[in-house]
Symmetry: C2
Subunit: 80 residues, 2 copies
């Protein structure tokens, strides 16, 4: 089974990376860009066939390692 975890900054948390991307795009001539935010995706291969169990384990991984839940939120998607 494959888990796709998306980690983004929570609303209201300053995102300098996103701001830099938006600014760079505007400077390059993409004036239609009004804002940008940057997050990360982590794809995890799991040796686990039970979907419910996999989801609860991946949630635990997010809480323990993948996301800083003070400033970040995460979303889990399971495939296969």
């Amino acid at each position: 089974m494959k888990a796709i975890v998306r980690v983004d900054l929570k609303q209201g948390v300053l995102d300098p990376q996103g701001k830099a991307v938006a600014h760079a795009l505007q400077v390059l001539g993409f004036e239609e860009v009004s804002a940008a935010r940057q997050g990360k995706v982590i794809e995890i291969d799991l040796e686990e066939s039970d979907k419910a169990k996999a989801e609860s384990r991946v949630k635990e991984m997010c809480e323990k390692l993948l996301a800083n839940t003070v400033i970040e939120r995460y979303a889990i998607e399971l495939e296969g």
Copy 2:
């Protein structure tokens, strides 16, 4: 309109970040993890209502700034 760009390393390119995540998870007791890969997501707010035009502009942004196409591949999703 909002564009969601996902940038990942191409198959075969060494991914030390992903390897570090997989290793850290295993050390934390998640033995079911066999591998992990890390990529990034960039959400862009666009002042553009034409979907086809937005897609071609975002593609241009990827080629020029967002992805290093020598080692990375990108996928574009448009919303709204």
